[in-house]
């Protein structure tokens, strides 16, 4: 099993694209959690989310871009 694991690790390294998506989904979960928890009006800031995830805030921004859904951004303007 150790050998298989090593084979998988050496031959199928985790690509950045996947890791970014993982961080991004976690960031969204944290955001929702913070919003529900505090019943607040304002969205949490990037820094608050970064603190929970224990990564630099720049990394949160970077990761979120990987799952950005551009279409949804424009709905408020068209409506």
């Amino acid at each position: 099993i150790g050998e298989i694991r090593r084979y998988l690790r050496d031959n199928n390294p985790i690509r950045v694209s996947r890791s970014l998506r993982d961080i991004a989904y976690k960031a969204l979960q944290v955001r929702d959690h913070l919003m529900a928890e505090k019943k607040r009006e304002n969205e949490p800031t990037v820094q608050e989310i970064a603190r929970v995830l224990e990564v630099p805030k720049e990394d949160v921004v970077f990761a979120l871009d990987a799952i950005q859904d551009p279409v949804s951004l424009f709905e408020p303007i068209y409506n």
Binding site: V61, L64, I77
Partner: protein, 146 residues
């Protein structure tokens, strides 16, 4: 204190998300909300896309230039190209006006930039290029916790 950065990159569309992330990471330092980040990323996307597809006609030669500075939670952005420029600026800024109707979201770039920022100025010279000056006041932490 003022913090400043200048960026230039090859005018190819795979650099759009790079440009967006760079500006967003720069302003991450002053702790914006997710919403502000999204707005700024959208604005950068629109301006950079315009430079690449209209300014340089997707020719992949040429560069896009971005300057960002932050002072007192106010972001100033300049997005510039040395492309073909715009002949009739007033017309170009009209909602839904586009010279490339085959694209998605046609004609809304300038309208989006104007809406997501507090100030927008466009300077363009045919054959010399286009510069977009944008200002956006970000909410401070103080304002949020008041």
């Amino acid at each position: 204190m003022q913090n400043r950065m200048e960026l230039s990159f090859s005018a190819i569309s795979s650099n759009e998300s790079f440009a967006r992330v760079t500006v967003a990471a720069f302003i991450a330092q002053i702790d914006p909300t997710m919403e502000e980040i999204t707005e700024i990323k959208t604005v950068v996307s629109e301006a950079v896309t315009n430079s690449i597809i209209h300014g340089y006609h997707n020719q992949s030669e040429g560069k896009v230039y971005i300057t960002a500075s932050i002072e007192n939670e106010c972001l100033e952005l300049i997005i510039r190209d040395e492309g073909m420029g715009i002949t009739d600026l007033e017309e170009a800024r009209q909602p839904l006006y586009t010279t490339k109707p085959e694209l998605e979201r046609s004609g809304m770039g300038f309208t989006i930039m104007e809406n997501f920022c507090d100030e927008m100025k466009v300077v363009s010279e045919p054959m010399l290029g286009t510069s977009i000056f944008l200002k956006k006041q970000l909410s401070t932490k103080k304002a949020i916790y008041n």
